[in-house]
Amino acid sequence: MKGVTIDKAVRKKLTFGQWLNTDTVSGYVFALPFIIGFSFMMAVPMFLSFYYSFTDFNMLNTPTFIGLDNYVRMWNDMRFRNSVSVTFRFVFLSVPVRLVFGLMLAYVLTRKTSGVHFYRSIYYLPTLIGGSIAVALVWGQLFQNQGVINVVLGAFGLDGVNWFGNPNNALWPLIFMSVWQFGSSMIIFAAGLKDIPETYYEAAEIDGANKWRVFFSITVPCLSPIILYNLVMQTIAAFMTFTQAFIITGGGPADSTNFLALYIYNHAFNWFNMGYASAMSWVLLTMVAVSTAFIMWTSKKWTFYANE
């Protein structure tokens, strides 16, 4: 329905219903839930946390301005540096594997075979239950010394691995769990694969290209905007990873899984250093923003848009 255009001359004559139905007002009404939610749940807390990052706030005191002390403290905090390192390792290892896995399965599941919708649903299930506490608990049990994974390794004559007792191994189960939740990227890849015109493949077939050549010369370039989207979204999500470490390892052993998000949480709510935690949150946000900007900058070299 076409809205009523506001005209100052006639505004006074509008009934409440007509006024509500004007383009401007109805637009604001529809946007209001988001505006309220964003303002109070995002914008206000963000600005407050920025202010707190320059204070000694501990949640119960009156914040005192301490300048850049919290940011300077980070520079000398070895555990902070370690948590940044652990976070980057997790991002660099989990995101590419997750994307490759998602793309591989999307490729298989977009083939015209029977039962493909069923399999697609099944593969999406891990993402539906997501990074919940229950799933983290189950994964924790799977990788215990006498858990299913080591039992299976033993059945193949392999030595079990002390996953959570050894700092060199502890990050891997968390990476595996992250990769296992490939469903969302898989679905987006599948949608992208379906959008690639069949004529491209037909032309390649006529030219005698083999399957690998078709995949790398047609599928990947055509899918590159989707890969970019998934890469950005998964990178942001990986930087914010918290639940797995919080539930399964608590950041240990010897801080080997102490993600930055977990370290921030501990400082804020367990060690009562909300000011310092706020400062670290802004550093995390900056890290995410810079990484995203870097990906977007490099994307000019490897993304292909059909209309360009």
Binding site: N145, N166, A254, N270
Partner: protein
């Protein structure tokens, strides 16, 4: 406009009516509050409300909120005591605000930050000091001592709950300490007929026991003299330092030990891990002792646990090969010639919100909670060993505390002991110690390096506190 005015008037009347249903209590006259007065007509209905005859509770209908964490057994006991109080004082309603321990500290911290905390709060010992970083964030209970009889507790116990400025943040429910709980059946099964009494015997005993252990990177089917969970290693460190120096970890605002003491303590840990008499970090899978296969199968000959959790471990052991009668309580051993030691801290405490509208009613409830025999019986042992005089007497007379828990309670009063300083439980101090212990256990650092890191990290935090 007329409609709007009428609406506003109606709203104000409605709100006023709601407010009068929960009237703040009147100030109690000095000298007590035990004088019986006529029941009041507070509901404004013309009916007389029975307040139980106490002037503090006479001012009208009162709702007190009580926040606490705990399990189902504690829930049953707490609710029973609340309903009992309400039956004594029908104009008072106690509302529970409860949940499991996990995440509870964060919830309370947010409540306190927003000023929405309950009137009465079950508090953990470190909260009293850490939440306000030395200042009191709860009501100073000395201000209601004319209602809450503080003589129920010893000065030593109350001092645990006093902040740096001397304010009394909470009253302690009781005291707690770590003990070794031995499995007598498992020890006898090995042909042994006694328990190690000195630290040297303890190590030699464990060394022989663990000689056949084959799984070094796993729990496997290993035998351990003592099952000591990773998070409790810190308490052992405290015990070792106390045994060596006679000082607690912190004395006032300084460390109670030297670099050499720390090196010796960490070397002792390395010895215990090397001999495999306690599980290494790699072998500890974080399974609670009451569910741990090593304990239930009798492969762990002892466990190092809080006296307040004896009943949990005993309940868990019911499913094991032995019986609860096989369990025997002992203190952490000292070197030859030095008696063993138990370091103590309050199990928990109860505080009153600084923002409560009913400080005296809340104090009256707490006094009743700790001195009324029916209330003490209703609570039983679900909050641990009671420390208040009346509660202790009633608990012992009524058999509310028995078996190993009673043994532990008596040992807490009779063995060599020292207080656990609140700094020791502050996470800003504890976290670095935990990381140092893990790095030592994993062979990343030596005992000497660990000792230096310990002194650096603890002194740095002490300096932060001094600067604030």
């Amino acid at each position: 406009m007329k409609k709007l005015t009428l609406f506003l008037i109606a709203t104000m009347l409605f709100l006023a009516a709601c407010t009068t249903a929960d009237t703040p209590i009147a100030t109690t006259p000095a000298g007590g509050g035990t004088t019986a007065t006529a029941p009041a007509d507070t509901a404004g209905t013309g009916d007389v409300v029975d307040t139980g005859g106490h002037p503090i509770l006479d001012a009208g209908n009162i709702t007190l909120s009580f926040s606490w964490w705990g399990n189902d057994a504690r829930a049953d006991a707490m609710e029973a005591s609340f309903r009992l109080f309400e039956s004594y004082y029908p104009n008072v309603t106690i509302v529970s605000n409860t949940g499991p321990w996990d995440g509870w500290q964060q919830a309370i911290l947010v409540n306190l930050s927003a000023g929405t905390e309950a009137d009465i709060l079950q508090v953990n010992y470190p909260w009293v000091h850490n939440f306000g970083q030395g200042s009191n964030v709860f009501l100073d209970l000395d201000t209601v001592s004319h209602i809450l009889d503080l003589s129920e507790w010893s000065e030593e116990m109350l001092n645990f709950m006093r902040t740096a400025d001397g304010q009394l943040s909470a009253v302690p429910h009781g005291m707690n300490g770590h003990f070794l709980m031995y499995n007598r059946a498992a020890i006898n099964e090995l042909g042994l007929d006694r328990f190690p009494e000195t630290l040297e015997e303890f190590i030699e005993f464990g060394r022989e026991l663990a000689a056949d252990n084959v799984a070094l990177d796993f729990a496997g089917e290993n035998r351990y003299l003592a099952f000591i969970a990773a998070e409790v290693l810190d308490n052992i460190l405290h015990n070792i330092i106390f045994n060596a120096t006679g000082n607690t970890f912190f004395v006032g605002n300084e460390l109670g030990f030297t670099f050499e003491d720390a090196v010796n303590a960490y070397e002792l840990f390395v010895t215990m891990w090397e001999y495999n008499l306690i599980p290494t970090i790699q072998q500890d899978e974080g399974i609670p002792i009451q569910h741990n296969p090593a304990w239930l199968d009798g492969r762990a000959l002892s466990a190092f646990i809080w006296v307040s959790t004896f009943f949990v471990v005993e309940d868990g052991y019911e499913g094991g090969p032995g019986t609860v009668d096989d369990l025997y309580v002992a203190v952490w051993p000292g070197p030859a010639g030095t008696p063993g030691v138990v370091l103590q801290r309050p199990t928990m405490g109860h505080a009153i919100s600084a923002n409560t509208q009913h400080p005296e009613a809340a104090a009256y409830f707490l006094n009743w909670f700790y001195t009324n025999e029916d209330a003490i019986s209703a609570i039983g042992s679900v909050l641990g060993l009671p420390g208040a005089n009346t509660a202790s007497i009633v608990a012992e007379r009524e058999g509310l505390i028995s078996g190993n828990t009673l043994v532990g309670a008596e040992m807490l009063q009779n063995v060599r002991s020292g207080p656990i300083h609140h700094f020791f439980e502050d996470e800003n101090f504890r976290q670095p110690r935990h990381i140092i212990m893990e790095q030592l256990a994993l062979g990343i650092i030596t005992a000497t390096e660990a000792a230096q890191l310990l002194l650096d990290s603890q002194n740095e935090q002490l300096a932060n506190i001094a600067n604030n």
